[in-house]
């Protein structure tokens, strides 16, 4: 039986969602400064409008007084509503920039940014104002590190109740006992990789011929997109624009780092290198990357596009890492996936995106830990069949410490796996309805649901609006791993049909 949420419930959800909206407004001040500095006058006005709206609404929501505490269910609903509402305001300067055909397109872009997907509906990206392009990447940064984390560090008066917010966003694993310490550690990791990544990229781009200031701008945007496994790029040619192998190497390291869970980063920062080889999630991810790359390389070899070692390795490995970490940068034009890559190699990219990176990272998809747990569960079941009936079969795995494989863990992983497969299929079927080929339709659908961001060209400004809406829903649900989206849906349903 459903109970209708009280007015107090809605007030607490509105108040915390409002804090996120406020943060979005404050974040717009940075591209505003850039727009003013770069003389992008019209875009500066766009950011004034966007920031004013978000800050006003965010501040007004704080007038919602409540004595209700933020429990797990309400916390999840806040996460869900925050991810839906943030792009509403994030889309305003995008729409006013003139690079988007409609508000729906701008909202799509906003959701793609906050969900770290990377699919884009921007027109004439190569002539987009720097401030607007910067804003696209800031949305990725906010989405990647979790808008909620911004809320925690900037607005929240520390408290255990906020801990519930972490669960829905996929950062459920406590790295450190205290939420403030956890947030501080995450910030340190980001700053360290930003220093290393942006420094190296700036040097490579500057030596490659870009002006120092332009190189710095591109380095900052590329770091943001690679480390947050997001996928927007400063130029429409994506990573291919730079035609630089060293740049691709740095991007790959950043993508891998972005796809690693912060729990693993914590272990590595402690110098526990054994975690790389023992951890079930790193092992699963490594085996999956190499297996997928091997089949992809066979596929590329069969098409005859890349038969030499250099081509196979450079193009194939970058795309495998790119897809598996659900980033979405590319070193070849998207249309080549359709016209030159045959069927097998793109199918491997779809598989890589569908599986995704690690839980507790910015990567999307099913997640390596769930695949690892399911395979362990399968192994346990096979052993049970083979051993005598009264034999006790215990399967264990390593994740920071040695853990016994529990039934509920396997069941949970299987449920999420099934939900993700249904999510990918939903977009695939609607694509078929609009006349797209099954393989292309599944590619684009998986790119949206797994936050992969690669495209075979279906996502474009004149895409049918029902598909735009479905992809938005897929990006939202896939990013929040169902739980927060379902909690929000449950709240809406109980408002409509619940008993008082």
């Amino acid at each position: 039986m459903l109970f209708r949420p009280s007015a107090d419930d809605l007030r607490v959800i509105g108040r915390y969602t409002g804090k996120v909206v406020y943060a979005v407004g404050v974040a717009m001040l940075l591209p505003l400064v850039v727009a003013v500095g770069a003389g992008e006058r019209n875009d500066a006005y766009a950011f004034v409008v966007g920031a004013s709206l978000a800050i006003t609404v965010g501040a007004a929501s704080q007038l919602l007084r409540t004595r209700t505490t933020l429990d797990a269910a309400r916390g999840l609903a806040v996460v869900g509503s925050a991810w839906l509402v943030a792009p509403v305001f994030g889309a305003v300067p995008l729409l006013l920039s003139g690079h988007y055909a409609s508000y729906l397109d701008a909202y799509f872009e906003g959701m793609s940014g906050f969900a770290t997907v990377g699919l884009t509906l921007a027109n004439d990206l190569d002539h987009m104002a720097r401030s607007v392009n910067l804003w696209r990447h800031i949305m990725q940064l906010m989405g990647g590190q979790g808008i909620i984390l911004v809320v925690l560090t900037i607005f929240a008066s520390a408290g255990a109740v906020i801990g519930t917010l972490h669960t829905g966003e996929g950062r459920g694993e406590r790295i450190l006992p205290n939420i403030t310490h956890t947030a501080r550690f995450i910030l340190r990791v980001v700053v360290a990789y930003a220093g290393m990544g942006m420094g190296l990229l700036w040097l490579l781009l500057w030596r490659g011929g870009l002006e120092a200031a332009t190189a710095a701008y591109h380095a900052a945007l590329l770091f943001t997109t690679a480390f947050h496994t997001a996928g927007f790029a400063p130029q429409s040619a994506s990573a291919a624009f730079y035609r630089s192998q060293p740049v691709e190497v740095v991007l790959m390291v950043l993508m891998v780092a972005g796809a690693f869970s912060f729990a693993l980063h914590y272990q590595l920062w402690q110098g526990r290198r054994g975690e790389l080889s023992r951890n079930l999630e790193t092992r699963t991810l490594a085996v999956s990357i190499i297996a997928i790359f091997a089949v992809l390389a066979v596929g590329l070899g069969r098409t005859g596009v890349h038969t030499d070692f250099g081509g196979l390795f450079r193009v194939g490995f970058f795309q495998t890492i790119n897809a598996h970490t659900t980033t979405g940068l590319t070193t070849i034009p998207h249309r080549l996936f359709v016209t030159q890559w045959g069927a097998l190699a793109p199918a491997m990219l779809v598989t890589a995106m569908a599986l995704g990176g690690m839980a507790g990272s910015t990567a999307g998809g099913i997640k390596a830990i769930r695949i690892g747990v399911l395979l362990k569960g399968l192994r346990r079941d096979i052993r049970k069949v083979l051993l005598p009936e009264n034999a006790v079969v215990v399967e264990s795995y390593h994740s920071t410490t040695r853990r016994v494989l529990r039934d509920d863990l396997v069941r949970g992983a299987a449920t999420i796996l099934l939900l993700y497969l249904l999510l990918y299929l939903a977009g695939g079927i609607l694509g078929l309805f609009y006349g797209y080929e099954l393989t292309l339709s599944l590619f684009e659908s998986t790119a949206a649901g797994a936050t992969g961001g690669l495209s075979v060209g279906i996502v474009r400004p004149d895409l049918e609006w029902p598909l735009k809406l479905l992809y938005i829903a897929q990006m939202f649900i896939g990013r929040l791993e169902f739980l927060a989206a379902l909690a929000l849906g449950g709240y809406v349903l109980s408002m409509l049909r619940g008993r008082t």
Partner: protein, 45 residues
């Protein structure tokens, strides 16, 4: 207090360098395995 801050900054720097080095090593390890696979497949075609 200042000494504690310096120690803390040093430990952060050390941790960061070790962490980044290990992630880089993991990426290089994956690339090396992929290179062997690519070499074998390029010989087949």
């Amino acid at each position: 207090m200042a000494r504690r801050d310096r120690d803390s900054a040093e430990s952060i720097l050390r941790g960061g360098l070790v962490g980044i080095a290990l992630v880089t090593a993991a990426t290089v390890g994956l690339a090396a395995a992929a290179a062997v696979v690519a070499l074998v497949i390029s010989l087949l075609y």
